[in-house]
Amino acid sequence: MEFLRNLLDKQKPLFQKGGKLENLYYLYEAGETFLFSPKHTTGPRGAQVKDAIDLKRMMITVVIAMIPCLLFGIYNTGHMHFLAVGEEASFGDKFILGLTLVLPIVIVSYAAGGLVEATFAVIRKHPINEGFLVTGMLIPLVVPATTPLWQVALATVFAVVIAKEVFGGTGMNILNVAMTARAFLYFAYPAQISGDQVWTYLGDKVPIDGFSGATALAVAYQSGQEGVNAVSNLGSHNSAVMEGMFSFSNMFLGFIPGSIGETSTLMVLLGAAILLFTGVASWKIMVSAFGGAYIMAAVMQLLAVNEYMALPAHYHLVMGGIAFGIVFMATDPVSAAQTESGKWVYGLLIGVLTIIIRVTNPAYPEGIMLAVLFMNVFAPLIDHYVVKANKKRRLQRATV
């Protein structure tokens, strides 16, 4: 380590004021502080010791929490491919195929976003923010494995610039950056991120007869249109490739088509366990969002006028990206409600809205994306009223 430290110290004057590469100081600093925690000490007045946490550690915790989803997503990408083309393949083959598809997306996402971050850091002369560690991983997990790489890059650049940097960078943004990237893709290039054809990678192979690439939500929606029982329709769907693909238990496990990281509710819950145990994400948001979704789905079931609405409420929690969205997107502390009571309302409404959008809006089979973005916009309003109540308590006290 001595060697690295010496190397850094040797280069430092180049980047410091008056050095040749003075403009790139924050790039140097990002590298240096990544390798070595800085030797700054606390100021002469105030807290003389500090908690061991910093933003880097908090962000890396979230990245770690996403790893189960990532690994499962890589495997599932390969698994779905071989299932669709009707070939037997080993675990390794599936994983390697998945890797060749997913890894480039992850790399492109980090590279594109990192470049934007670095550019802004240099121009605006501020340190590179760690928030992108999380965003860069989130974006690959919410797109299909077949997404063209240039679209991944474009969406990432768009989201980082428009959703984050124009507001002043990490901590200042209103919308969740990764969700913005996905929304951008959804509206700009719907052909590559919706429908039945994009979720399973086929390559140059032909799928076996009777294969359907539809997602569970699309099947459930179709049941509503056709007036057949949604559960049995889901149960018998795609029996040509796999018996019971859309059974509740299989959807919970995640061996289904979908975006890379969101298919497995189990893996999402594993990530949720990490986030909750480490206290990095708000349990209030998770509980209230899942609760809100379940309650709303149950209400839908109660008021059912078609077979889709009659779908049992617990199915909604394992279909589509709702679990992933709630655990990793809704809990983003910057774009979520920031007051503790506000978090209950915020989470609850995300759950409720997701189901409403899913069930009643024919144009978007999945509602979590729009629900999170919508509530991101409303979070400051919720907080406003919570804080206003606090101010009011203080004023009322004055009169007694």
């Binding site: 430290r5 105030g46 003389q48 010791v49 890396i60 502390p333």
Partner: protein
Amino acid sequence: MSKQIKLKKGFDIRLVGKAEKKIGNFQPVKTFAIKPTDFIGMQRPKVLVKEGDSVKAGTPILFDKKMEKVQYVAPVSGEIVEIKRGEKRKLLEIKILADTEIDFESFEKFNEADIQAASREKIVDHLAVTGVWPQLIQRPYGIVANPEEEPKAIFISGFDTHPLAPDYDFLLKGQSNYFQLGINVLQKLTKGKVNLGLSADHKSEELSNIKGTEINHFSGPHPSGNVGVHIHHISPINKGEVVWTINPYGVVQIGKLFANGIYDASKLIAIAGSETKSPLYAQTYIGSCVDSFVAGNTKTEKVRVISGNVLTGEKINRDGYVGFYQHQITIIPEGDYYEFLGWMKPTAEKLSYHKALGLLSFLFPKKEYALDSNARGEERAFVQTGVFESVTPMDIYPVYLLKAIMAEDFDEMEELGIYEVVEEDLALCEFVDVSKHPVQEIVRKGIELIQYS
């Protein structure tokens, strides 16, 4: 009506090096200093003495031109050896070389009946000229109280929950009669109540039987001992209201003044911290130089000496002076080192309120830590939410308040409770902050904005 208040929010920073309840045999302290910078809100300090003058304990040496009535006096008798000024001739220290035998100015003596008979005005004047007045702190703002005002109540916290804080029972041992007399004096200053907050977890031997006060008990982690927290739960400060606070030491000092007719600045201070060879108490006077306590008493040479505790204290030199209001010095390792991948290394050696990846201190809730002064990361925008609230046992939204201060939004600051806090009340936020904001500095900036607007 005495109250029992259970506080859950907060965090105890457990450190190595708590002072043993014994008085150490330190070398006699030679010099003492009064630092005008200790008196927050002092605007135009004027020195009344010159280098070479001799003073007695209780001789006025300083006053604030904005509040001329209040005298700041010499803690010991001796010779003024240096009047130290900094940039723009800012007054930093008035140093006194102490006599071996302390010579006191003599003031009028009072017995209990005299105190009862005296007018409020007479008491105020007596407190102001004898040097004990600066012990009275005004809230809002946390500045030396204004003798022209009358507070709605007076608050005293009888315990300290800061890291490695001294034990008040030990500091006040055998002085409860003076404390009682001091309370009698304080009662004359306000039509409201004199409130004494005691710990519900450790019964106070010296203060439990004090009369003439409303005793409330507080339990829970730090900051349950902060007087600001007590005020918030007993009689919160609203716009336009004034409350005074005083440390038990100040109450005893007032008691001694009225009983014995002298300005007695003798005090015990705790010499604590992980780098201290023998953490003990030291018998000295206000404004004591720390060299006698530090020299030869540190485990290593690379240490930081703090006047006060690690949360709210001030870094001083090895031959610096203990702050006017402090009852402890803390010696910790200086943390100016690089750490390879320090931001993700698992650690149980560094204390954290959080449990994020690799922060294992939560597994050892009783362990005592040896923390150094490393800043543990760089300053960032606010990201994590809900943490400040969880260490602030008050109905206040600290992040919103801090943002209002940063935006210099006066109405918001008022509405969000700037009158109810001083630095120490939000000091824990500064410790636990993921984004490493200088919270206490921001709070003071907000208070000054409001105060001088």
